[in-house]
Amino acid sequence: MIPSTILTDTTTEPQKVLQILCVEDNDGDFLLLREAFKDSDLDSRPILHRATSLAEAVAKLLADDGKVNFDIVLLDLNLPDSSGLETFARIREAAPTTPVSILSGISDRNMAVSLVQSGAQDYLPKDSLSADLVIRSILFAMERQRNRTEMEEMNNRLQKASEELKTAQMQLIQAEKLDSLGRLAAGVAHEVKNPLATIQMGLDYFQRKEDLIGETGLLIISNMQEAVTRAERIINGMLDYSRDQNLLLKESSINAIIRHALALMQHEITRTKVLVIEELQEPIPSIRADSGKLVQVVINLVMNAIQSMSANGSSDRSVTVRTFWDRLPNMERDEGLRQWSQLRVRDPVVVVEILDQGGGVSEDKLSRLFDPFYTTKPTGEGTGLGLSVARNIVNLHHGYLELKNVENPRGLRVRMVLKAWGDPEGWLPSPESRNLTQPVTLKPNKL
């Protein structure tokens, strides 16, 4: 006797009538099976569909298309139009996720057993069918199939996660490599150019002393001049190469960079129905930047802001993207490689502020947000590399990223601080008299 509770234990859906496709050409065997179901003690009797050939069975499975939703196929391997392993393979192909239980006679028992080992869920010996056995077998077969599907899904998810991790790792390695290559090239170029400058000045001196050094001397000097020029060309080439890999610095407008990034994100903004409010100060000092790389950074930061709010499920959802210029209040110093563009007190800076309403990040997590592979997003949504790569790019510009929780409404404020190119004093309004453009709201497009 099968207690009907097995059904409720093994199915997640409310109990439903079992739909069984019986592929059996032998009328006697089919009747036997039908009798077995009549005796069953289930609350609702299963519905038995029949196909007498492989072709008919395949057609029924393919045409099924969710209408009947066969719970299981009971399959006789030896049919008028197919036999043995071929039969099973064709059924599997037609309905990969439907459990199959083999109806086996004494002659093909061995094959049935081996099929169970290679994908069939169970087998039923035709010579000793009983109601209990059939029902139990069906329930177990369905359960096995469910487990198998779950396992496959899990495996897929695992594989996807592993691929994401690999991509992320490559991104990180690439960013680190670019950083160190750029530093190395800049360092070497600098160290070689200084002695070259001395030689150049020396040559300029001797070139003026024709009468003193004679014809041979002048020839030597002209060869030396050529050598200096060539060395300089090589050094510049190296610098340019590392810069190509690294940053293509050009005088750029931060507002144009932001507008470009937001335009690229329009689809995501529309999809998530988050309002993006632009408050871009005009005019604003230009910056020396690789605008392509900074567009990446802005997309990354705005995407984080949007995702923080969808995770929080807040109803009043907007991200504010703001720019303004200011003077730097605190010292930032990189003793490793000093650059003109490095930030100092009172330096004019261009600030990009991205403000979300996603509830902020707890203080202990805040300090870890820049760690590679650290993420607050659900598994599969974030690689944990976005912010660390973004920070790398901003650091390469000798700027910095800063995270801070804000209130009213609670959210995270991300600031990107970059050195202004040239001192805007005198030709731009002072930071105190901020002249923001009217806030522009990017409305999600109609879907």
Binding site: A197, G202, Y205, E232, N236, R338, R346
Partner: protein, 126 residues
């Protein structure tokens, strides 16, 4: 005769640079190799123009530039930043790159290019 203050920690370079500039007959130059002495030397020498290196031990070109801006007298003295940090690729033909109040010139540099940049800077063209 215009007075040129050269602030650069590279002793060899500054020596040859000074000889070249002085020999033109148009300039009288003074060298500062230790950047912490730069402000005092500048106040005493009263230069018409300052040639300033960027990467130096201790106070670097950025620090000195900031200090010069704070000084009521020296803030009016034009500065030419001479640095190996920018390449001729960035500066273009005339080896000069400028933006806002900064004018940079790339090392190594030909004397004629440098003297032209000095004149332009003093004339306020650069």
């Amino acid at each position: 005769m215009k007075r040129v203050l050269i602030i650069d920690d590279d002793i060899a370079l500054t020596q040859v640079l000074k000889i070249n500039l002085d020999e033109t007959g148009n300039y009288e130059s003074r060298i500062v190799n230790v950047s912490s002495n730069a402000m005092a030397a500048a106040r005493e020498f009263k230069p018409d123009i300052i040639l300033l290196d960027v990467v130096m031990p201790g106070l670097d070109g950025g620090d000195i530039s900031a200090a010069l801006k704070q000084d009521p007298v020296l803030s009016k003295v034009p500065v030419l930043i001479i640095t190996a940090l920018v390449s001729n690729d960035e500066t273009g033909e005339n080896a000069v790159i400028s933006s806002g109040d900064q004018v940079m010139i790339a090392k190594p540099i030909r004397l004629e290019v440098l003297t032209k940049a000095i004149e332009d800077r003093m004339a306020g063209v650069l």
